[in-house]
Symmetry: C2
Subunit: 196 residues, 2 copies
């Protein structure tokens, strides 16, 4: 039963993040009792305060984990597309679809910004924005997109996407709304394409 110390610690951290992520993603940050979800992980609040300082610290760790996963997924999507432009559109669509997943929506788009402020700021540009920026830069190099500041465009699209997702997810008829939203969104993207 030789278990290196570091391994035990990492395991504890992982359990806390996983437990917090589940709680935050389902009942939400405010309603999640630290005693409850640490208990489910076989730990106590003591461990949480030791590793993350406070409840917000744990949320931050959870968000960084999710952000990394999203970045990875976005990169995969744009990588397999046949053309640059198609990859761009696919990436944006994927972003909307991810924002429909309850856990991502709740943690990344609702509770995260509310508790920690603008998430895209307190880190040196998080993965999602960076991924979009890369795609846009490639399109600019190819001359396929109108003249627009890269990061601004990335954030415009980011904002529009997440609002589309919220709209769809909270609609009483998500299917129908989704059709309208994606169609409109693609129309907007299309208008950004350089025409000649």
């Amino acid at each position: 039963m030789r278990k290196p110390r570091q391994e035990m610690i990492a395991e504890t951290r992982g359990k806390l993040i996983a437990a917090g992520r589940r709680a935050f993603g389902t009942i939400g940050y405010a309603e999640a009792s630290m005693d409850d979800f640490t208990g489910e992980a076989g730990l106590t609040r003591g461990a949480l305060y030791h590793h993350f300082g406070d409840k917000r610290g744990l949320l931050q760790a959870v968000i960084m984990e999710i952000d990394a996963e999203m970045t990875e997924r976005l990169n995969e999507v744009s990588a397999v597309a046949p053309t640059r432009w198609q990859g761009f559109v696919d990436e944006c669509s994927a972003y909307i679809e991810m924002a429909l997943e309850p856990e991502i929506q709740r943690i990344m788009f609702r509770d995260g910004p509310a508790v920690l402020g603008d998430i895209s700021q307190w880190q040196n540009t998080p993965g999602c924005i960076a991924a979009l920026s890369r795609s846009i830069n490639r399109l600019k190099a190819d001359g396929e997109i109108i003249d627009i500041d890269t990061e601004t465009a990335a954030r415009l699209i980011n904002g529009a996407s997440s609002h589309m997702a919220l709209w769809i997810a909270n609609a009483e008829n998500p299917e129908a709304v989704s059709k309208r939203a994606v169609a409109g969104f693609k129309a907007m993207l299309g208008s950004l394409r350089r025409q000649e």
Copy 2:
């Protein structure tokens, strides 16, 4: 000292909304103690629970008040513009600027959605979206905008605007970022204009 009953009640409601609005807009919803801000208004939590049910109920009332004010302001802006298109652009710019005001940003774009869910949903389309939609419809009638679903476009712009505002407000250099953001935003709007 004859004061009609209804008047006293309305005054109490008004005081509670004003006090809550100030507290929510400055320190934020979560940090605002009901005992504190009702006390500042010369009342107690009893009055609040009587009129609004709970803390969230008061937040909802505050939001409705602010939404009405924003709608009014947006209508004024688009009314004085020389052309339809200019009115539309001005309206969008005004929306970004409003989202820069700390109170609006905090209540309407951070705490509101986090506590109550998608605000633009639990009401039959709030004023801000409706105002944008009206402008867009006029542009469509004039054939000045690309073919796109009206409400979808309104929400796209709404989402993009609020993210621009968050970006600007939280930047360490708001002036510079503001320039980039507004320029990029106008570029996007321009691309929505029908070209010939």
